[in-house]
């Protein structure tokens, strides 16, 4: 009995040793590959003119996995499918779990990159933790603009304009009926019924809530006093789970209003309000949402392209309520195969070919100025 169990244990040890040595050899071959990959990357970026600069779009072979934000879930599904048909040897998968889970998995080195609707939070020491996990600085690369629609359901009203003050007042419960004079003043010529306003909010913690409350707190801090947070801090309304929950609740409730990712507003056929930040009413389209990212300032340094969105922007034709999802990557991957994979896939994500398709899945493309910066950053990944 004892002898056999010792024999078994030694067998396990041998197998483990074999597995370890196998790991070692694979990483060795990987690192030789990385030299050629970074070489081709730099040559392509230098050969193309700055304005129409594109990233190295060569394929890689192997598999790559990412995880994170659900806000870019549809976009990633489209990207991974397209990428698979473009590069037959490459397998990329993206699990849309949540931004928090994606970052956690990234810090634990379980995934090649993380998708997140907020950049790494320096208050929580995330950039330092990520740098430790990568053994190189981690970068936040903005990739997909996710517009947040203010969707409503009001019988007989197909077009509605809401100013930022009106939005804050409605969602904080200061305006409770649709025929309120303040709403009427912003909608001359529209006949508003006296229906009660039913506010719906996300009952689960969500980046959409975080960005939307940030918008209200930035544009109208007197009416929306609470600081932005992933959990709803309002005092009125009814909570429904996920985008699907708030979307269907508004659809079923006359007088309902909510904030929801654009793609859900489209698929649920919800009517969306135009938003007036002071520069005129703007309808939500891919182009107007994209302009909001153009108004953003880059808060990161170097190739870390963390953005500071300007929610209060008055620029004409800009739809101000958007969130930007970042791809969080290592600047230098310890495992060169992963590095090559991330570089290759992100090059596809930032390519005009893919960015142009984003509006079909309810997202908006990056403005070209930021696109160019992301290309530079992607080319610097190794």
């Amino acid at each position: 009995m004892k002898i056999t169990s010792i024999g078994r244990a030694s067998g396990v040890a041998v197998a483990a040793a074999l597995a370890l040595s196998a790991c070692g050899s694979s990483s060795n071959t990987g690192s030789t590959g990385s030299g050629s990959a970074s070489g081709s990357g730099s040559s392509s970026s230098s050969s193309v003119a700055a304005g129409t600069k594109t990233a190295d779009s060569s394929c890689f072979s192997g598999s790559l996995s990412g995880q994170g934000s659900t806000a870019q879930g549809n976009a990633m599904q489209l990207a991974t499918t397209d990428f698979a048909s473009k590069c037959s040897g490459a397998k990329v998968n993206y699990a849309p779990t949540s931004s928090g889970q994606g970052v956690t998995a990234f810090l634990a080195k379980q995934v090649g990159w993380a998708g997140s609707d907020s950049a790494l939070n320096s208050e929580k020491g995330e950039p330092a933790k990520a740098a430790a996990a990568c053994a190189s600085p981690a970068w936040d690369l903005p990739m997909v603009v996710g517009p947040i629609a203010v969707a409503y359901n009001l019988k007989g009203v197909g077009k509605l304009t809401l100013t930022s003050t009106l939005i804050a007042k409605i969602f904080s419960g200061k305006i409770t009926a649709w025929n309120d004079p303040a709403i009427a003043a912003a909608n001359k010529g529209v006949k508003l019924p006296s229906t009660k306003i039913s506010v719906f909010f996300r009952s689960d913690s969500s980046g959409t809530t975080d960005n939307f409350t940030n918008y209200m707190n930035t544009t109208d801090p007197t009416d929306w006093t609470a600081k932005h947070a992933k959990a709803w801090a309002g005092k009125v309304g009814q909570g429904k789970p996920k985008s699907a929950g708030v979307g269907s609740a508004v659809k079923a409730t006359d007088g309902g209003i909510t904030y929801v990712e654009w793609s859900y507003a489209i698929t649920n056929n919800l009517t969306m309000a135009q938003v007036d930040n002071g520069g005129g009413a703007v309808a939500l389209t891919a182009a107007t949402a994209s302009k909001a990212a153009e108004a953003a300032k880059i808060a990161g340094t170097g190739n870390d392209l963390k953005l500071k969105l300007d929610y209060a922007t008055k620029a004409a034709g800009t739809y101000p309520i958007v969130l930007v999802t970042y791809e969080i990557v290592c600047s230098k991957y310890a495992d060169a195969t992963t590095g090559k994979g991330v570089k290759s896939f992100l090059s596809y994500l930032v390519s005009p070919e893919f960015q142009g398709k984003l509006s079909t899945v309810g997202s908006a493309p990056l403005p070209s100025a930021i696109q160019a910066k992301v290309v530079t950053a992607v080319n610097a990944i190794s």
């Binding site: 779990t97 949540s98 931004s99 928090g100 889970q101 970052v103 956690t104 810090l107 929580k124 995330e126 039913s198 909010f201 009952s203 689960d204 913690s205 969500s206 980046g207 947070a229 992933k230 959990a231 709803w232 801090a233 309002g234 005092k235 009125v236 309304g237 009814q238 909570g239 429904k240 789970p241 929950g245 269907s248 609740a249 079923a252 409730t253």
Partner: protein, 335 residues
């Protein structure tokens, strides 16, 4: 057929048949006996160890989080895990009330169905009925959740409006302004009742079917009608089993997550407390499910959620303890 209460539903059975032991003469020696005994003991100990480890994990994670809580953990009704302001009072209320109402709705139906299947229905119908009930138990809870919110809720709104209009003077049915579309605690209770119905029915059916024939024939011989026979022979015999089945059902209702998350309207902070079943809210499980994904990288918020999980763990323990006490006492009476 043992239940989570640790009491077998067949515990009230008299001794097994007096016939010859079919296992006699099939001895394999003592080795098999020892191996099997060891395996069985290992399995038994494993359960104890797992439960103890879960408890230790919850305590270890929850205590530091409760220490950082800025408001009273037990009495406050505010819940903001990420903001370190969390109290369980409202969650506890919603969890207990929705589950208890579900139990009150489900138990009479379950007992009725079980009695019908065992004592009234013809054999072929009884067999089909038993299979259907088991099938109902196998429906995933997400299906109940979606069915509840898209199919039941719009229709149930009318029932709730009726209750609010005519019985609104009872605090339980008082209308709550701001909660529309039927997504209330009462509605959740109805869906939970449907979910736990098959468990309670299936177990009750088993015990009722095991009522000793001598008891039943004795009652009938004394001139009892069928209803009187059920009342005097079947129900007393099956009572511990029904109670333990109900507690199993209550356990499922308390811990039900997805269906509650989908159906129940969450409340914004700062609402006044009301005892009405027409209110919204969140249960422990649905709150944890809603908050957990986005707070994975926030250790403090996760601690708060684990603290809520600890309370649910203790609550389930208490429910099972009560069930055990009831079952033990009943057995003293019936023996």
């Amino acid at each position: 057929m043992s239940s989570i209460t640790g009491v077998s539903v067949g515990d009230g059975l008299s001794d097994p048949s007096d016939g010859p032991d079919p296992g006699a003469g099939a001895s394999t020696g003592t080795t098999g006996d020892r191996v099997f005994g060891g395996l069985a003991m290992g399995a038994g100990l494993l359960v104890v160890v797992v439960v103890a480890l879960v408890g230790i994990f919850l305590l270890a994670q929850a205590i530091p989080a409760i220490g950082k809580d800025q408001i009273n953990f037990l009495t406050s009704r505010e819940w903001n895990a990420a903001g370190q302001r969390f109290g369980i009072a409202q969650l506890l209320w919603t969890t207990v009330v929705s589950s208890v109402v579900a139990l009150l709705l489900a138990v009479p139906f379950s007992v009725g169905i079980a009695l019908f299947l065992t004592h009234y229905a013809p054999a072929w119908l009884s067999r089909i009925g038993a299979v259907l009930i088991d099938l109902l138990a196998a429906v995933p809870s997400i299906v109940y959740g979606i069915w509840g919110i898209y199919v039941v809720a719009p229709k149930f709104t009318h029932v709730q409006n009726f209750l609010q209009d005519w019985l609104g003077w009872i605090p339980l049915f008082k209308a709550v302004p701001g909660v529309t579309g039927g997504a209330t605690i009462l509605m959740v209770s109805v869906v939970l009742a449907v979910m736990i119905l098959p468990i309670i029915t299936a177990l009750s059916r088993e015990v009722f079917a095991q009522t000793p024939v001598t008891h039943k024939e004795g009652a009938l011989a004394l001139g009892a009608t069928r209803w009187e026979m059920i009342r005097t022979a079947v129900l007393p015999f099956g009572r511990p089993g029904v109670i333990s089945a109900s507690m199993l059902g209550l356990g499922r209702a308390l811990g039900e997550t997805v269906a509650v998350l989908f159906i129940l309207t969450a409340l914004p902070g700062g609402q006044r407390f009301t005892a009405s079943l027409m209110n919204g809210g969140a249960t422990f499980a649905s709150q944890i499910a809603g908050d957990a994904p986005e707070n994975q990288n926030n250790a403090d918020a996760m601690g708060a959620l684990i603290a809520a999980g600890l309370v649910l763990f203790i609550l389930t323990f208490i429910v099972n303890a009560i069930a055990r006490v009831i079952v033990e006492r009943r057995r003293e009476f019936s023996e």
